[in-house]
């Protein structure tokens, strides 16, 4: 992805949802996009999928190249052949993403009927196999049931089965476990990791939870107010964070594995994206901001082959 900018043109003004975002994801890695609400992480995912609501949304610049093709230049029908087949996505709430009046087995099979052009009974047999590989017990019986008969964790497994039916290269998971309990979350995350390893699939995991990123991902991008603030390997982000925002987040995170008397917190609030702060987007809340930060937006200073930090402090001297 190069220099992606997405803006929403609303009555109240122009929302700069994503600005000059660049990053690359290699095959077979688990890539985390972490950020708070309004950081642009979901808009980025929807843009990759070609599902951005246009209008009011508009891609103002940038390219998203996948396998040598710019996804943003594809015609709708060309994109339709890629979406769901080679790039699949799962969402936060598995209940609203499933059709309540169709049996789950058929919903999984439908993907195969559309993309693989196979007949219904073959597709349904494959759907049962997929449900089994997702760890759904009694798959044959349960394939004939409706979404409301499943628990939240099981519904998310069905969503994953549906997404993986066509063996996609990339699976985008947008907050896949936010609606789930902690033990179910653990099972779903383990499943995603296992699938990534077994199928050599790329998983792009979007989350607000630093714990999940640390547990699941190989590399990560930290987003704030529509900007990619820091990108790097998981080790670098968690043990040698470069950007003050990443450091602030890590220092303010509550942890179940240690006792802390007092955590430091990041002051201030998340900026308004219609009138974003000048210069660096994080500068009004940054503990180490300089004069320059409010005047000039820092470029992403690269750290190594894949990492960068969008902060003047990271400028090589």
């Amino acid at each position: 992805m190069q220099d992606l900018s997405v803006r929403f043109y609303l009555g109240a003004g122009v929302v700069n949802a994503v600005e000059h975002l660049s990053f690359n994801v290699r095959r077979g890695v688990s890539f985390g996009i972490v950020g708070e609400s309004g950081s642009g992480k979901t808009v980025t995912a929807l843009t990759i999928m070609g599902l951005l609501a246009r209008p009011p949304g508009r891609v103002d610049s940038g390219t998203i190249s996948y396998d040598g093709v710019d996804l943003l230049k594809l015609k709708d029908e060309e994109m339709r052949r890629i979406r769901g087949k080679r790039i699949a996505m799962i969402y936060q709430d598995p209940m609203t993403s499933l059709n309540p009046v169709l049996r789950v087995g058929f919903q999984i099979a439908e993907t195969l009927i559309v993309h693989e052009k196979i007949v219904r009974h073959q597709a349904e047999a494959k759907a049962i196999e997929l449900m089994e590989s997702m760890g759904i017990p009694e798959a044959e019986k349960r394939a004939k049931e409706y979404p409301h008969q499943f628990s939240g964790g099981m519904r998310q497994r069905i969503m994953i089965a549906m997404a993986l039916a066509t063996n996609p290269d990339i699976l985008i998971a947008d907050e896949p476990t936010t609606a789930l309990d902690v033990i179910t979350q653990f099972h779903i995350l383990s499943l995603l990791r296992e699938l990534e390893r077994k199928r050599n699939m790329t998983v792009i995991l979007i989350t607000h939870d630093l714990g999940i990123v640390a547990q699941v991902c190989d590399e990560a991008l930290v987003m704030y107010a529509g900007h990619g603030m820091e990108r790097g390997s998981i080790q670098d982000i968690f043990t040698r964070p470069k950007h003050p925002y990443t450091r602030g987040l890590l220092e303010s995170t509550t942890r179940a594995d240690r006792e802390v008397k007092r955590l430091s917190s990041i002051p201030g609030t998340i900026p308004d994206l219609i009138n974003p702060p000048t210069g660096c987007r994080f500068q009004p809340r940054c503990p180490v901001a300089l004069d320059r930060c409010s005047k000039q937006e820092p470029p992403p200073f690269s750290q190594d082959s894949n990492g960068y930090s969008k902060c003047w402090q990271s400028e090589p001297s």
């Binding site: 708070e36 609400s37 628990s151 964790g153 099981m154 309990d181 902690v182 033990i183 179910t184 979350q185 653990f186 099972h187 995350l189 383990s190 607000h208 939870d209 630093l210 714990g211 999940i212 990123v213 640390a214 547990q215 998981i234 080790q235 968690f238 043990t239 602030g248 987040l249 890590l250 303010s252 995170t253 509550t254 942890r255 179940a256 594995d257 006792e259 802390v260 007092r262 955590l263 430091s264 917190s265 990041i266 002051p267 609030t269 998340i270 809340r285």
Partner: protein, 357 residues
């Protein structure tokens, strides 16, 4: 500074006075049955809270933690008097407040027990200004004259970190974190003794969460507050609470000082919960999947014996037949498990383990 001083005072005073006590509290809900279920004589009660007892001492924070459907929110509603218990008692300063109360007693009680809920936008009236919202409890309880109420509102807004300029704003003009500050200010205007915090930060963004948690800690020492902190996030509970009660299917399965719970958990359910919490440290990656089976059973159809036996990796016949009691295993450390002593000594019940999976 204040927080440190309060903590010192607390450690000097080991015998703390009990402020709130919940004794053998039960809440059963009746559910409608379909015709088919009626002929099969299927169960029709949801035991949302089933024989729950705990005490909260003055100045302390008790955390109630558990997965969705474990009965933690129902417990808070029973304490607040928003639901009537099926049986059992809620004692506030030694007085039973769970039965029918006179209008005056109920009113007085509301001054002492206040609450802050999860969704700040949903708990603030969109047509009232911030100032009116924070003043409303005083208007209802007719405390002081208008001038003194206005004065308290300004003091409270300052205490929770809002500016007087935000006094005339409406809730929708504020961010989530600011809305939660307003809800906290409103809960404190009547100077309650205990505040029930039901998931107060789960709807907030990460960078805002710690601000609010720190604010709650500061206000606790400033206003000498006792908290009942309900949450599903074990990392937040560790940061905030002195004592923790872990609930599963309407019952407390483990209850002890916070450090004991995280360092020496006894109950297999607590262990599974702790194992599942994602730690923001890639070197502490958990590779072995949790050995917990299945998902939480329906609270309509509660398993026999130990309610956790259907998912527990150490289940033996006894667990299916006999219900374990919540008993004190070590000093101040309660757990309801037949093999609590074995787990406490750190030994894995080998005999049990082999038969389990």
């Amino acid at each position: 500074m204040l927080a440190i001083r309060a903590q010192l005072n607390r450690s000097r005073n080991p015998s703390l006075e009990t402020l709130l006590e919940v004794d053998d509290l039960c809440k059963y809900f009746q559910v409608k049955r379909t015709l088919g279920e009626m002929t099969k004589n299927a169960p029709r009660t949801v035991k949302a809270v089933d024989r729950v007892s705990f005490k909260v001492s003055r100045g302390e924070t008790l955390g109630i933690v558990g997965e969705s459907g474990c009965g933690k929110t129902t417990t808070t509603k029973l304490i607040l008097g928003l639901l009537k218990p099926t049986s059992g008692h809620v004692l506030f300063e030694g007085q039973d407040v769970s039965g029918k109360l006179t209008h005056t007693t109920r009113g007085n009680l509301h001054r002492e027990i206040q609450a802050v809920f999860q969704d700040p936008a949903g708990s603030l009236d969109p047509r009232m200004t911030v100032g009116e919202i924070v003043r409303e409890p005083m208007d209802i309880h007719k405390t002081g004259d208008l001038a003194s109420r206005e004065d308290t509102v300004r003091k409270m807004l300052k205490a929770v970190g809002l500016t007087t300029e935000q006094y005339n704003r409406y809730p929708h003009e504020l961010s989530g974190g600011q809305q939660q500050r307003v809800a906290i200010a409103r809960a404190l205007t009547l100077r309650p003794k205990i505040v029930i915090l039901d998931e107060p930060v789960s709807a907030l963004d990460m960078s805002i969460r710690t601000q609010i948690l720190n604010l709650l800690k500061d206000l606790q020492s400033e206003f000498d507050l006792t908290y009942l902190f309900v949450a599903h996030d074990l990392s937040v509970v560790r940061y905030m609470c002195d004592y923790v009660a872990v609930m599963y299917l309407g019952q407390i399965v483990e209850y002890c000082p916070t450090s004991d719970l995280y360092e020496k958990p006894i109950h297999p359910y607590t262990k599974a919960l702790l194992e599942a919490v994602p730690i923001p440290d890639p070197s502490k990656r958990k590779t072995s999947p949790s050995n917990l089976r299945g998902s939480m059973p329906s609270p309509i159809d509660i398993p026999s014996g130990c309610r956790f036996h259907t998912r527990c990796p150490f289940t033996v016949d006894k667990c299916e037949e006999v219900e374990p009691k919540l008993i004190e295993i070590a000093k101040g450390h309660f757990a309801s498990c037949h093999f609590a002593d074995t787990f406490l000594s750190g030994a894995m019940p080998r005999k049990l383990g082999s038969g389990a999976i």
